[in-house]
């Protein structure tokens, strides 16, 4: 086979050793690749084992990259595999590191890392084969600098953001209750006490001490645990609802919630059942389970309000009695069973209060953990396609390269649909040098706001450096002088127009990431007012297009530990813990839009979705590419999904 020499001489970098990664490493080895480097920061978990076939139960907790290497060497000992148990964003993996490879193959799980790798590949001028899967859907795309679009030429869907008031006061969907239980209640009870939290913790019904009302979450000295737990329950499910009801304006066009108190649900049985000391002693905190203690077995069952309340108390008690040491620095983890139980129960009780249908632990876990659907077959097909594209790239046959979509149902007979790659987007701020425009109130916004809301979160920069003319305003790095660090810290707190090199309307700043070797010019436009609802950042970035966020309960997740000032206007929901191989990028193009629509159909989405505008030009190109022009796929699919 003529491709053999291209394969043998290639040095490839794989980023990700998860669902796609395992399949990819196996197929690369079988295909004759001799020199493979693989980066993955993750360790193996039980729920990986159904598809990440290089891993066994005994490997749980170990490095994916290292175990994958060992497993493949068992059937191909003569090849070289170099594992890195590390984050691809680490500074070791700089442009020079990337330059040593013939091609980079991504089997990643998150937008952030994908963007980062895209930039490094552009800077190092190394072709990138990118991939992603969700359930039965998947895609492989090829990105070659100057010839095809880069990964960021097309807007990527943003993580869903919910207004804080929806979460704190007016939930209408189960996901709102989950976010509340996870980001507010769980974080308040078990997380960092110093973190901002929008949960109402004051009991202002004691008219006596008006400005000195106490934090109900503070456990009083020698306070009986039962008393404490009941107080929390009554406060968050009873009192807080009661006080929300007092604001009649809110409920004019909404169904009024019902306050729930312990006495209404459990009468006095909690006293008898609250004793969890008899649960078998275990050193492994991940084995603790309120369900097991209460004799609830099936995670698919939907518990009653009473059962949820029991789980709530049992989980709370287990945390306080068996995991005391962790309290104060816990953050929600979908693999922490007790945390999932607690969040499920709390979200369900809140849902009951607001007349929202209750959900099973299995479903709640999916929403809370932002768990994506994953099947082995899709990953393996995608991995096969990645290798096919990689070989074309290595043979310098970029004309034959295709983007391939793996569909769930055949579309014009095709289950695997190849599409010619698109040309680079001339207005892409990543692979072209088009400047961006930032509308901001330069008299009010601080440099910190710009760094956090724009540079880090929107432009995805890791180690940013901000300059204005010849003046250096801000920089992140390990080797900075102390006085510079202090200087930058001071700058962060200054409003733009008062910076040493004042940023005002009409000026241009340069934002640069030294690791990614990406430079963006941003033209500043001063604007006085911003709409709090529609423009929660208080600033608007143009030239950086973002697809509308699909309100998708499966993928919505939240993050309370992003350190940003989330408490002001909105809770930012960032996919923090996505499973490998998936993310919403599946919305990326016309076909993918459909794909996402189908995916949503999988779950019972009660509310109508915001229609996702499809890019006609892209759809047309896809349609043109196909041989028989009987039906335009997008129309066809739309019909089917109505």
């Amino acid at each position: 086979m003529e491709h053999l020499s291209a394969i043998k001489g290639a040095k490839v970098l794989m980023v990700g050793a998860g669902g796609i990664g395992c399949e990819l490493l196996k197929t690369l080895a079988l295909s004759g690749f001799q020199d493979i480097h693989i980066i993955d920061m993750d360790t193996i978990e039980v729920s990986n084992l159904n598809r990440q076939f290089l891993f066994r139960q005994s490997h749980v907790g170990q490095s994916k990259a290292k175990v994958a290497r060992e497993a493949v060497l068992r059937f191909r000992p003569q090849i070289s595999i170099t594992p890195y148990h590390a984050n691809v964003k680490d500074s070791d993996f700089n442009v020079d590191f990337f330059k040593q490879f013939s091609v980079v193959l991504n089997g990643l799980d998150n937008l952030d890392a994908r963007r980062h790798v895209n930039r490094l590949c552009l800077a190092a001028d190394v072709p990138l084969v990118e991939s992603g899967t969700t359930g039965f859907l998947g895609q492989v795309t090829v990105h070659i600098k100057g010839r095809t679009e880069c990964y960021e030429c097309q807007p990527k869907p943003a993580p869903k953001t919910y207004p804080v008031c929806t979460i704190t006061s007016t939930p209408s969907k189960f996901v709102h209750c989950i976010v509340w239980a996870k980001d507010l209640l769980f974080a308040k009870l078990f997380g960092d006490k110093n973190q901002d939290n929008d949960l109402n913790v004051r009991s202002n019904d004691s008219a006596s001490s008006s400005d000195h009302s106490e934090d109900v979450f503070e456990r009083k000295k020698d306070e009986d645990f039962e008393q404490y737990a009941k107080r929390i329950y009554d406060h968050v499910f009873g009192h807080n609802i009661e006080s929300a009801l007092s604001n009649e304006e809110t409920w004019k066009n909404r169904n009024k919630p019902r306050p729930i108190y312990v006495k209404d649900v459990l009468s006095d049985e909690i006293q008898q059942n609250g004793n969890v000391d008899k649960t078998p002693a275990t050193d492994n905190s991940s084995m603790l389970s309120a369900m097991a203690y209460l004799g609830l077995k099936n995670p698919q069952d939907i518990w009653s309000l009473k059962e949820n309340s029991r789980v709530f108390f049992a989980a709370l008690k287990l945390f306080f009695s068996k995991r005391q040491k962790e309290i104060g620095n816990l953050s929600f983890d979908k693999d922490d069973h007790l945390a999932v139980e607690f969040v499920t129960a709390a979200a369900n009780i809140r849902a009951a209060s607001f007349g929202i249908p209750l959900h099973s632990l299995f479903e709640a876990k999916g929403i809370a953990g932002n768990i994506v659907h994953a099947v082995a077959t899709t990953n393996a097909i995608i991995a096969g396609l990645i290798v096919i594209e990689a070989i074309k790239v290595l043979q310098n046959d970029s004309k034959s390269c295709r983007m391939t979509y793996c569909l769930e149902h055949p579309s014009r007979k095709m289950l695997l649909m190849p599409v010619e790659p698109f040309e680079p987007n001339k207005a892409c701020y990543v692979c072209s040098e088009t400047p961006l425009v930032l509308e901001v109130n330069t008299h009010r916004a601080k440099l910190r706001d710009v760094v956090e809301k724009i540079v880090t979160s929107k432009l995805g920069m890791n180690l940013p450096l901000i300059t204005h003319g010849s003046g250096l305003l801000y920089e992140v790095g390990d080797d900075l002088e102390e006085d510079m660090v202090a200087n930058y810290a001071a700058n962060l707190e200054k409003v733009l127009s008062e910076l040493p090199y004042a940023i005002t309307g009409g000026t241009m700043i340069q934002v640069e990431d030294l690791q990614q070797e990406l430079v963006c010019n941003i033209n500043i436009k001063h604007r006085e007012e911003f709409d709090e609802e529609k423009e929660p950042d208080g600033m608007v970035l143009h030239g950086w297009t973002q697809a509308p966020a699909a309100e998708n309960k499966d993928t919505a997740t939240s993050s309370s530990n992003n350190g940003a000032s989330t408490s002001s206007t909105s809770t930012t929901l960032v996919p923090t813990d996505m499973e490998e191989d998936d993310e919403l990028t599946i919305l990326e193009t016309g076909i993918e839009t459909i794909a996402a629509g189908k995916k949503r159909k999988l779950s019972d989405v009660s509310n109508s979705e915001t229609p996702i505008p499809t890019d006609d030009k892209r759809a047309k190109k896809i349609a043109e590419h196909a041989e028989d022009d009987v039906v335009v796929m997008l129309d066809d699919e739309k019909k089917n999904s109505r």
């Binding site: 086979m1 399949e23 196996k26 197929t27 080895a29 079988l30 295909s31 039980v46 729920s47 084992l49 159904n50 598809r51 076939f53 066994r56 493949v72 068992r74 059937f75 191909r76 000992p77 003569q78 359930g135 039965f136 077995k297 099936n298 995670p299 698919q300 299995f362 999916g366 768990i371 994506v372 659907h373 994953a374 099947v375 082995a376 077959t377 899709t378 393996a380 097909i381 991995a383 096969g384 396609l385 290798v387 096919i388 070989i391 295709r402 391939t404 793996c406 769930e408 149902h409 055949p410 007979k413 095709m414 289950l415 695997l416 649909m417 190849p418 499973e579 159909k601 999988l602 041989e627």
Partner: protein
């Protein structure tokens, strides 16, 4: 919910896939019994997948020794310095597959595929044969059809960078979810013999060229009494001659079966690993147990073709109906 519930262990392990196809499909999958004969790269990919997904049991059949070429495409068999060690392909694969998922019962059935009688196949819900002769395909398919219970029959073949999957679900009824209701649908599948007997001119326009090319090569191997894949460049003139005869008989334009395609199939009969992956996994996907239960869309009928050269993975309905 009916039947036994999944154990806690099963729910934890299969968590992500249950989120795709639901608990009922998982339960049904765990009760299905699968037979696979011919363990080259593509079949091995298929086996890996259904074991990971959690079928009830898997019986492997391939008495060939695990030597050079067979090993090259097989990631189930650990590399052994003293090549040509003990054990057949089936035995060695069995050991690895058991290790993949302790909840699946994997075993070996020795013997030549052609010697298995009708009764043998009764124990299975799904029979998959790979890299088999035309005669074997027809005969195993017929045996499956003689049984009173429905045994789903699949053939999977990969040559060079192309491949074909055939599915026979016989009389297949399935539930399809419409907006508010679930409707019962019926599909009538032809046997392999019936499907390939359909005159080419009566097939729908634009049937994958690979379909015709595979028939030519299959016929050539049958007539010449070759083992599957036992062809070389020296055979090309005769294969093209046969192509011309068949095209004439079926009044099909010879351009529908390009020389270049035939050449690929005849000359390089080795499975190309990335294509094996695509095909093996696609066949696992076509697994009606999983597909049908979700009630979304129709089961696939009845051929799937993949060619890495154009990158298309195409479903063709080749039946009289």
């Amino acid at each position: 919910m009916n039947g036994e519930e999944l154990t806690e262990q099963e729910t934890a392990l299969y968590d992500r896939q249950i989120r795709v196809w639901g608990v009922d499909a998982q339960r049904r999958l765990s009760k299905s019994h699968v037979f696979v004969s011919g363990l080259k790269g593509t079949a091995v990919e298929f086996c890996k997948n259904i074991v990971l997904a959690g079928v009830g049991s898997l019986v492997l059949n391939d008495d060939n020794p695990a030597t050079g070429e067979a090993l090259a495409a097989n990631f189930l068999i650990p590399f052994d310095e003293n090549m040509g060690g003990e054990g057949s392909l089936a035995e060695l694969c069995c050991d690895s597959l058991k290790d993949f998922n302790p909840m699946v019962h994997v075993s070996v059935e020795k013997g030549d595929l052609s010697t298995f009688g009708v009764d043998f196949f009764e124990k299975f819900d799904v029979v998959v044969i790979s890299c088999c002769s035309l005669a074997a395909k027809k005969s195993v398919n017929e045996k499956c059809r003689k049984l009173s219970k429905r045994v789903a029959f699949y053939t999977v073949d990969c040559r060079d960078s192309c491949g074909e999957i055939f599915v026979d679900l016989q009389n297949y009824s399935y539930a399809k979810k419409k907006v508010d209701e679930t409707v019962q649908c019926q599909l009538q599948y032809p046997s392999f013999e019936e499907a390939i007997a359909i005159p080419w001119r009566s097939l729908p326009r634009r049937v994958a060229k690979l379909y015709f090319a595979m028939r030519v090569v299959e016929r050539f191997e049958d007539v010449e009494k070759r083992r599957p894949g036992e062809t070389s460049i020296a055979d090309l003139p005769n294969v093209m001659k046969l192509r011309n005869e068949l095209c004439l008989a079926h009044s099909l334009n010879e351009s529908q079966i390009p020389d270049s395609l035939l050449e690929r199939l005849v000359v390089s009969t080795k499975e190309f690993p990335p294509v094996s992956a695509v095909l093996g996994e696609s066949s696992a996907r076509l697994f009606e147990v999983i597909k049908a239960i979700s009630g979304k869309g129709d089961p696939l009928k009845n051929f799937f073709f993949f060619d890495a050269v154009d990158g298309k993975g195409v479903i063709e309905d080749i039946s009289t109906s």
